[in-house]
């Protein structure tokens, strides 16, 4: 309950800030909208030339891309700037500030700010999902929708864990280069259907790194109904990655020497 109040205070601060820099809000919302448009156009162009990609039709693919988008918007909206600043703060020593706060340091560090522009665009992603579902003539019941939401939540946990680990690397390297690049590259994998992966790539990207199942499992649930094995796997994997992330973060924290210059 206490943490919720802290988070709400941070969110309020972020919204006030956004209202102060309105031009920035519109500009960044446009930036994201453009990138989402680029990805939708890719789908459009590909399906001009073929009817199925790895067994997925156009609107099934659109559902996948929409699902991947909404997850990315949530990650961007709730966490991204916090992670971006975390690496910087570790390098400069400003990280001290968070350790001095009376609360779980991981929570304090990763939830301080939100980005309303990304959250606004999650509505656009939701629009894509609804449009695709409409075209596919899907009529999910309340249970299906709740399950879909739960699986998306698992996906968010996995993304969050990956970001925690990537940012925690700064404790060791103090370089922190390439975090953005590597994360966005991983995100691209989540827009691909699982069936497209074969051989080694299947082992690495579907089973070892959970970057493909985060988006594929929720979408499959909407398309083909509940698959307990697959959904269970996603829940277990997200719990495992979160645990690993927390461990790595605390390991790193022990190394933190409050560097300053």
């Amino acid at each position: 309950m206490n943490y919720l109040r802290i988070w709400l205070a941070g969110a309020r601060y972020s919204i006030v800030r956004t209202l102060m820099f309105r031009f920035d809000f519109f500009l960044w919302a446009m930036v994201e909208l453009f990138w989402m448009g680029v990805n939708l156009l890719l789908i459009q162009v590909i399906y001009e030339h073929t009817d199925t990609v790895a067994g997925w039709g156009k609107y099934e693919m659109l559902l996948l891309v929409g699902t991947s988008m909404i997850m990315q918007r949530f990650i961007m909206g709730f966490f991204w700037s916090n992670f971006f600043e975390m690496s910087r703060n570790i390098r400069t020593g400003n990280f001290d500030f968070f350790l001095a706060q009376p609360g779980n340091p991981l929570f304090m560090v990763t939830t301080r700010k939100i980005d309303p522009d990304s959250l606004a665009n999650s509505l656009v992603a939701l629009g894509v999902i609804l449009y695709a579902a409409h075209k596919l003539n899907l009529h999910p019941g309340a249970g299906d929708i709740a399950l879909y939401a739960l699986l998306i939540l698992c996906g968010l946990v996995i993304h969050y864990s990956i970001l925690v680990m990537a940012s925690s690397l700064t404790f060791w390297t103090t370089g922190g280069q390439g975090l953005e690049g590597s994360y966005f590259t991983l995100m691209e994998f989540s827009r691909l259907p699982r069936e497209a992966f074969r051989g080694v790539s299947r082992v690495v990207f579907v089973w070892l790194l959970p970057v493909v199942i985060v988006s594929n499992v929720p979408v499959r649930t909407l398309l083909h109904g509940f698959d307990p094995a697959l959904a269970g796997w996603l829940v277990v994997v997200s719990a495992a990655w979160l645990t690993l992330a927390v461990l790595v973060f605390h390991r790193g924290l022990r190394r933190y020497a409050s560097a300053s210059s």
């Binding site: 920035d24 960044w28 930036v31 590909i46 030339h49 590259t185 691909l192």
Partner: protein
């Protein structure tokens, strides 16, 4: 006549040294590009999925196109030149160039060239590593004119890439933060430059339209010449349009520079 060239030759050599310092950054970026290639393989492998051709080209031709794009990206693509220029304007470092007989554009372009020599050579390392895995997918047409027209097209594409980055850097005279503009234009550039998909897969009307925009000439055009996606007639015509765009962008740069300097308050330095 020789002394101005000499000036920028030195800028180039200094740039070469300072960019070699960042060799690891470029190398890591190069290795990450190989992940991009994995995505290309998986996505387009699934798109072809038993089909012999998509839009008139087979799977190998499409893979070759994307490999060439990655190489071009490291040899002529603008990386963070816009931010560097923005930084120099913001913290007053450009003041020194206003007092010396140095053309800031030429100076920056020399540094850009040296940076691309370094990053271009370094991307060959990861490519050589994975070459045994992909070499069966690489198919190049053999006509001699492709090299004769392709190389000038690459040079002009580099000039266009840099000019666009330079324009965005100069926006700092008017705006404090240019990051939003830069990422916005990145979306447009990667789409209309052909980095998301080969532009010829677009509907014919849109493809025709794209040929009149500068983005077509900053990436897709040279890659399409080398990989056989366009013929001799459209290559020669394209080269003409490319020259026009390079000149237009140079003029815009000059205009922004003159206008911007009037607003410049030369803080710091």
């Amino acid at each position: 006549m020789l002394s101005p060239l000499n000036k920028y030759r030195h800028a180039f050599l200094v740039g070469l040294q300072s960019n070699i310092v960042y060799r690891w950054n470029f190398l890591i970026r190069g290795f990450f590009s190989m992940f991009q290639l994995v995505i290309v393989f998986i996505l387009w492998g699934a798109v072809y999925g038993g089909k012999a051709d998509v839009g008139g080209f087979d799977f190998h031709a499409t893979i070759t196109y994307f490999v060439v794009l990655i190489v071009l990206q490291f040899f002529i693509g603008a990386f963070n030149e816009d931010y560097q220029i923005s930084e120099e304007i913001r913290n007053g470092l450009i003041n020194q160039f206003l007092l010396k007989p140095i053309n800031y554009f030429c100076y920056r372009f020399s540094i850009f060239t040296s940076a691309r020599v370094v990053s271009g050579s370094l991307v060959l390392v990861p490519l050589l590593v994975i070459l045994p895995l992909i070499k069966d997918n690489l198919v190049f047409p053999h006509e001699g004119w492709r090299l004769a027209l392709g190389l000038p097209a690459v040079a002009l594409a580099g000039l266009i890439q840099f000019s666009i980055a330079y324009c965005f850097g100069l926006l700092t005279f008017w705006f404090l933060e240019i990051q939003g503009f830069v990422i916005l234009s990145m979306a447009v550039e990667s789409l209309l430059g052909g980095q998301m998909f080969p532009l010829d897969l677009m509907p014919a009307g849109l493809f025709r339209l794209a040929q009149f925009l500068p983005f077509y000439y900053q990436m897709y055009f040279p890659a399409a010449i080398f990989t056989g996606r366009i013929g001799l007639a459209s290559a020669t015509q394209g080269l003409g349009i490319q020259v026009v765009w390079a000149l237009v962008l140079l003029a815009v740069n000059q205009l922004l520079w003159n206008r911007g300097l009037r607003r410049h308050t030369a803080v710091g330095g």
